[in-house]
């Protein structure tokens, strides 16, 4: 029997600053983003990123939150009790037992994007695991207009995972492979994940290569997201957060459709929510101690 490979699986990892010493810090604030597919925890020491983790969400939010925060604190000697203020965000935010406060992920993503890509960011697109949010924000990272599409998983990370599995292609290769086609195929007509899956199967049966199916699916997804952005308007500068930001198959097609380049940073696009939550925690901590 062939070995079962999980093509949808992306790499989980943790990171902490190799030189910073958290014991010298005064303000230890954490943000926990328990999303529908991935969970992140990020710890700020005096307003600087000290450690973070990016893991897969389990079926239980408190467990996922614990796993994420323990992942971020791994090998640092830090304990949960050292954290002065913790903000929870994401789908599971109301179910994080050790969080001091829950803040919606829309506010957190805007704030995180503002930190990651600078105050010139006006439009933030969060392409998450199960929904898609278009956010317009001001120079302080405060939300001024937003739109969320969480009724349907089309145009999200979960849809990509399903496609990776169906075509037996590791999820990280999808973006690149979707450009290895002689000619850009027309987008798949259904954006619904379930219908797109049967449409993809039909296309393959009629002789399309896997790469062509990927290209068709990526452009359908990019088009769908651009419609969502159209409602709030895209203002320069534009930044994409969430896991899909790592997929050039979507990002480049979306940029082409919108006629605007997105800002790229050194940070992992998936930590934006947790970073924003941690920044709010830091602000609330400062407010409380004044």
């Amino acid at each position: 029997m062939a070995e079962l490979q999980e093509f949808w699986r992306w790499t989980e990892y943790t990171w902490h600053h190799p030189e910073m010493d958290w014991r010298k810090g005064k303000r230890l604030a954490a943000g926990i983003d328990v999303g529908s597919v991935s969970s992140q925890a990020l710890i700020l020491v005096d307003g600087e990123i000290y450690a973070f983790s990016n893991l897969r969400t389990g079926s239980n939010s408190p467990d996922s939150a614990h796993k994420a925060v323990n992942g971020a604190m791994k090998d640092t000697g830090m304990e949960l009790s050292n954290l002065k203020y913790t903000v929870g965000t994401g789908y599971g935010r109301v179910n994080i037992p050790f969080a001091n406060r829950a803040i919606t992920e829309i506010a957190c993503h805007a704030r995180g994007a503002n930190f990651m890509a600078g105050p010139k960011i006006r439009t933030v697109l969060d392409m998450g695991g199960q929904d898609c949010k278009a956010i317009h924000c001001d120079e302080r990272g405060k939300v001024s207009n937003f739109l969320m599409n969480d009724k349907c998983a089309a145009g999200t990370g979960r849809g990509m995972e399903v496609m990776a599995d169906l075509l037996s292609i590791p999820i990280k290769d999808i973006g690149e492979l979707s450009y290895q086609v002689d000619q850009e195929p027309p987008p798949v007509s259904s954006t619904c994940v379930v219908f797109a899956k049967s449409e993809a199967l039909g296309l393959m049966r009629s002789g399309w290569s896997k790469n062509m199916v990927l290209a068709a699916y990526c452009s359908a997804m990019a088009h769908r997201v651009s419609l969502l952005l159209g409602r709030i308007g895209v203002e320069d500068q534009f930044f994409i957060t969430g896991g899909i930001a790592k997929n050039p198959g979507i990002v480049k097609r979306l940029e082409k459709e919108l006629g605007i380049e997105s800002v790229k940073t050194k940070y992992d696009s998936q930590i934006a929510g947790a970073l924003g939550a941690a920044l709010f925690a830091d602000t609330l901590l400062q407010k409380g101690t004044q």
Binding site: S144, N145, M148, K151, F280
Partner: protein, 95 residues
């Protein structure tokens, strides 16, 4: 801030947009809505502000097409109660 509550699906776009900068927190829109879709709550999209603004109740956000339907007959549609009740004009429907 403009908060768009609702969704977009195969049958169209269904959003109730509430402009929280215009909303004065009076709460007049809450009792006039027949299915009680609206509530007054802390502005959850601006966690650092302490203002109370109108919002669409969370459990209603994914079905407003149906919940709002009685106020939107196909013919002879009058002003929507929530929109009419809002003096500063902070509420708008997309459909």
């Amino acid at each position: 801030m403009i908060a768009n509550y609702g969704y977009k699906d195969g049958s169209g776009e269904f959003f109730i947009a509430i402009d929280t900068d215009k909303c004065n927190g009076c709460g007049d829109c809450v009792p006039v809505c027949p299915p009680r879709l609206l509530e007054m709550a802390a502005d959850e999209y601006d966690p650092l502000s302490e203002k109370t603004v109108a919002a669409v109740r969370e459990e209603e956000r994914k079905k407003i097409k149906y919940t709002c339907a009685p106020c939107k007959p196909a013919s002879g549609r009058g002003a929507l109660p929530c929109v009419a009740a809002c003096e500063p004009g902070a509420i708008a429907h997309s459909w």
